[in-house]
């Protein structure tokens, strides 16, 4: 188990370096002069040249990358052009909002998805199973931003039940207010993942339920509910957990769309604003943060799975 964890942790290192390299190169490919962008159109060529020198933009690319890495380790992601503040501080004040939104969404999607998928798989071909198939098809075919808009139109503008945008009402509010603001974005964000998780759970449960050991349990008089909970789910969950992990990563990035639609003050919204203002350091920083989060989630998922697999756990 320890060997597995260490091996898996070591595998993260090259991937993490690759991720930093990719975000660094992103900044390199982007056309345009960073110095000019920073100093504004009225700056002189001399001023720009001085700034380039100061920022190290005239150094060879490799040197620049090493500097970039070094800055990363000290938590320096550069200065955001549009916010006029360090990228780190912009992201830091928003990360909690994004984690709150995505975290709630993945928990909702995972719990409901596993429950619905299992429930449908227990009666393959039944009305509820067909219902799941249709629902999965539908939610896998809806663009989340449009779904969000439809929700806003229906529940905020139409029925006036829930607030549409922002995280709190103007003038602030308590927990109830935040929760009310979360309902629609969480539904929007969770819908796709819920469908994917439910479908995966259904097929994993169906696969496991056909195994001989499930028949063994039944042949000894074990009740159907207990067969599912004790014999089927523990063997079906590993493949489901993989999907949940992937979805958790996708939710982080899906937040870009959802946060934009609902004006949720998270990293996604900041990224959207950064794109429209071509605020390259902020784009780099936001993408890097989410990608690293994704790598960490995957590591956690794999380790968790190994823990539940007696063959790896005992090795």
């Amino acid at each position: 188990m320890l060997t597995f964890t260490v091996r898996r942790a070591l595998q993260m290192i090259p991937v993490a370096f690759g991720v930093t390299l990719a975000t660094f190169l992103l900044g390199q490919i982007i056309p345009g002069d960073q110095a000019a962008a920073l100093l504004g159109p009225s700056s002189s060529e001399q001023e720009r040249q001085a700034l380039r020198e100061e920022m190290g933009l005239n150094e060879p690319v490799l040197t620049q990358y090493v500097t970039y890495l070094g800055n990363l380790f000290t938590g320096d992601l550069g200065r955001s052009l549009s916010f006029g503040r360090p990228v780190m501080s912009v992201l830091a004040e928003r990360i909690a909002n994004t984690v709150l939104l995505s975290g709630t969404a993945i928990v909702v999607a995972a719990l409901l998805g596993v429950a619905i998928g299992t429930w449908a798989a227990m009666k393959p071909g039944s009305v509820r199973d067909r219902g799941l198939t249709v629902g999965v098809l539908f939610f896998n075919s809806i663009p989340s931003f449009w779904f969000g808009l439809v929700l806003i139109m229906t529940f905020s503008l139409g029925l006036r039940l829930l607030p549409a945008t922002g995280m709190t009402s103007i003038g602030g509010g308590g927990v109830v207010d935040v929760v009310a603001h979360m309902v629609l974005p969480v539904i929007t964000l969770a819908a796709w993942s819920l469908a994917v998780i439910a479908r995966m759970t259904r097929s994993a449960v169906l696969e496991v339920i056909g195994n001989d050991y499930v028949r063994t349990a039944r042949s000894r008089g074990v009740g159907e509910m207990r067969v599912v909970v004790r014999h089927v789910l523990p063997n079906a969950l590993p493949s489901v957990v993989t999907v949940i992990g992937l979805q958790a990563g996708f939710l982080l990035s899906g937040a870009v769309l959802t946060e934009t639609v609902f004006s949720w003050p998270g990293i996604g919204l900041a990224l959207y604003q950064a794109i429209s203002t071509r605020d390259i350091p902020l784009i780099q920083g936001g993408i890097l943060l989410i990608a690293i989060g994704f790598v960490l989630i995957n590591f956690l998922v794999d380790t968790l799975q190994a823990y539940f697999n007696p063959k790896i756990k005992l090795a």
Partner: protein
Amino acid sequence: MTSDIVVEDLRVHFPVRSGVLRRVVAAARAVDGVSFTVPARGIVSLVGESGSGKSTTGRALIGLAPVTGGRVRLHGEDLATRRADGSLPRLAQIVYQDPFASLNPRMTVGAVLREVLTVHRIVPREAVGKRVAELLDQVGLRPELARRYPHELSGGQRQRVAIARALAVEPRFIVCDEIVSALDVSIQGQIVNLLQDLRDRLDLSYLFIAHDLSVVRHISDRVVVMYGGRIMEAASRDDLFASPRHPYTHALLRAVPLPDPRRKENITDTRPRAEPPDPVAPPPGCRFQRTCPFATDQCRTAEPATVAVSDGHTVACHRHDDPAVIAALAPATV
């Protein structure tokens, strides 16, 4: 009688990797010093339980398992040379246990055979169709079956196709790896009879890997008994079944249930025997020591040499000439 296949001290060791860096820390000795010969037109059976190394030995002979020690000669030439010059596939072929898994599901029977014939240019292009029909006829299938896919055939028919594919290169030697054990009893005989006919007609020799001793007794000229990667006993068919000299051979013979309600002696309710030896760390001495009812201290320390007890009958047992043991093994069956 010339020998088609000469195996001398064959070893197949697989690396065992472990730890964070997946370094090779040990070797699993799947086959650990095995010698035997297969004469021209001979059928040699390799028997033993799972993990005995019999299948790995067969795979090594046709280049599918790495030879890490010893020598294999096919028709006077070294296996490595035969592999290098590409003559191995034309000389030695394999037929597997599960014919469904060993046939490409997306190729018709005819396409399977045509591919072999054209790749190796066995016959001129215009004669390929005729040759396919001949091959099918040789294994007792109607030529119309050439248009069928494997999933449209029965188990016995698939196995015939697999045999036809092996025959297509006109080999001298075929490894038959448990080729009847996945078939129904009523069909097994069809395939066994076919193998014997083909041997007579095409001068083939076989290495017949099996665990069912009643089939082995029927088909083989010689029988080689393996356990834990080593040969325990080798003899002509009649010698081995009439007077086994190794306790393991005896145990195998005594375990075949007899289709006779009055003969119950082969059903024994004994405590389970010890596990087969760990291929990574086999015990010093005889591999069979933990299970053997006759094991002595000598068996636990010194590996027994292979000795000839009569012409063509070899056994690797310290107590091969102990009268008490011989007496205990004598009435094996029938």
